[in-house]
């Protein structure tokens, strides 16, 4: 069977003085994607994001595996945020399979999720630092992230790809003495990230560089359907942990951070504030958690979903609202799994924000969108 090639990413015929730059995929200023940037002097006149270099077809693979063996696969899109990216799938599978979750497991999940959020944001922050040419801000988060990775490793046995959440709870109980270690390291972690202010967030050069660049207005943020820190930096107070609390978030005192500027600086500062909030949540959860009890509801070896039903669950991940749409037809494999990922939703803001910006602002605006190329490609 033959196909005619659909229109690909055709380069436009442009003016002589406009230079077309391929930023990526080997370029250090793009992640695993290509941004086709047309510049006129120092100004960007057009920008065309070209993701898909790490497209793996996770959604297709999910249709061939049962509800349990999907778990290691579906956390692959964002290995630094693997608990959160798995979370909506697990919630959805629980609803489709009809399983209840023990109370302690819910708290463990919340702790793991918040730790993972911090781990992700630290990684993101490290890249943001190096995109701005701030090598210290690459090294510090990359180092301090180890504190939390150590915790996650104690908790789940793996450093990045945990595969810890399963329908019905979590895989294993917390190790002994975990609460104390966790509290100590989280406290130190919070102290550390507060030290970033002097070098990074209150640095006048950084402020001058990222203020008023790539301004996303409140209307546009809503219209583009952005989410997470991008949305909250533009003045929309929307956090799923408050708006649609899942697991035990409604029993915890969760605050959210909103800024109104909508520029790169606000977008980069919100995740930092989120980390402090995460530390608060972890402390609360450690305090309120039942000290003992089951963490996993026992499951049949090869469970079957409800017949012909669909469920859409979403959680607040490190980048924003992450939804999972699962269609079941009553078999052991899901009929269709769709991840609605925040990176993909935020990507649409990129060409609109970069238009008219200077080339020097390209990396900061791009990375301040809290965009993770692998997640967008799935």
């Amino acid at each position: 069977m033959t196909f005619t090639l659909p229109p690909g990413l055709a380069l436009q015929k442009v003016d002589e003085r406009i230079m077309t730059l391929n930023v990526g995929p080997q370029h250090p200023g793009s992640g695993h994607m290509r941004i086709i940037v047309q510049i006129d002097g120092d100004y960007i006149v057009a920008c065309d994001p070209d993701p898909g270099y790490v497209h793996r077809g996770e959604e297709k693979m999910a249709e061939y595996r049962n509800y349990i063996t999907n778990i290691p696969h579906l956390e692959r899109p964002v290995i630094h945020d693997s608990c959160n990216v798995l979370y909506p799938y697990v919630l959805g599978a629980e609803e489709l399979l009809g399983i209840e979750v023990p109370e302690r497991a819910k708290y463990v999940r919340v702790i793991a999720s918040e730790l993972n959020r911090c781990i992700y944001i630290m990684y993101w922050l490290a890249i943001y630092g190096i995109f701005l040419g701030h090598s210290t801000m690459f090294m510090w988060p990359a180092g301090d992230r180890e504190l939390l990775i150590d915790l996650m490793e104690k908790m789940t046995g793996a450093r990045v790809t945990h595969a810890h959440f399963v329908p019905g709870g979590v895989r294993n109980d917390l190790p002994p003495n975990f609460e104390d270690v966790c509290l100590r390291q989280v406290n130190y972690f919070e102290k550390r990230i507060k030290e970033y202010a002097a070098v990074f967030y209150d640095n006048p050069i950084l402020i001058a560089r990222t203020r008023d660049t790539g301004v996303l207005s409140r209307q546009d943020a809503i219209r583009y359907g952005t989410t997470g820190s991008v949305l909250r930096a533009s003045g929309v107070d929307y956090d799923l942990r408050i708006k649609e609390p899942y697991d035990v978030y409604d029993e915890l005192d969760v605050h959210t951070n909103v800024m109104n500027e909508g520029d790169s600086y606000a977008r980069s500062r919100i995740p930092w504030l989120d980390m402090m909030e995460s530390c608060n949540i972890i402390r609360q959860a450690l305090q309120k958690m039942p000290k003992s009890g089951s963490v996993r509801t026992k499951l049949k070896p090869n469970p079957k979903g409800k017949g012909l039903d669909s469920v859409y669950k979403r959680v607040e991940s490190g980048r924003g609202s992450l939804g999972c749409y699962i269609v079941s037809d009553g078999k052991t494999e899901p009929y269709r799994v769709k991840l609605s990922v925040p990176s993909f939703r935020n990507l649409i803001a990129l060409p609109n924000l970069l238009k008219g910006e200077k080339l020097g602002n390209m990396p900061s605006v791009y990375w301040s969108l809290n965009y993770w190329p692998v997640e967008a490609d799935r």
Binding site: P51, H55, I348
Partner: protein, 198 residues
Amino acid sequence: MSTETEIPPADAKPEVATPPPKPAAKKPEETPVELPAFEKSISDKIVEKFGDKVEVGFVKEDRVRINVGRENVHEVAEFIRDGLNYDHVESVSGVDYPQDNEIEVVYHIGSYTDSSLARQILVLATRAQRETNPIPGNDATRLPTLRDIFYSVEFHEREVFEMFGVFFEGHPDNRRLLLPEDWADLPPLRKDFAIKGR
């Protein structure tokens, strides 16, 4: 639902900004027989407006599903935006049903501006005709685009186009997005595209 203000005062520093009060943790009782009231009112409004043109898929807690035919999806979406205050699309997913010879496209629509709708997701589903031998872009697998109503569907619809071959009429930029430029096989998320070895 929540009563907090949408926008904190402009001069508030992020560190000292007092967080909005915690939303009332409302957990509706488990009453499977009785449909949730608020969600029911939403579906009722749509049914009232369009009558037979729409079909209520299900009404669950926080989720309402509306099935629409492809000829009505545009006006229903317009009503959802203008009449019901939904303002963005979170996800556009295609689902392939070879046995019905149809491809379903599901829009998950949410709202940021209306705080009473913050929990709600309205699922708008429509179906396009499915071709056995698809020629993406040039066959009958077509739907009207919703990009002029919800700007946020732009990249999602491009993805559905390349993954399912559903051409969205009126979309200004209907190009490939994720797949390689030289992809010449079936649209990969169809059921008849099989992974090697399976």
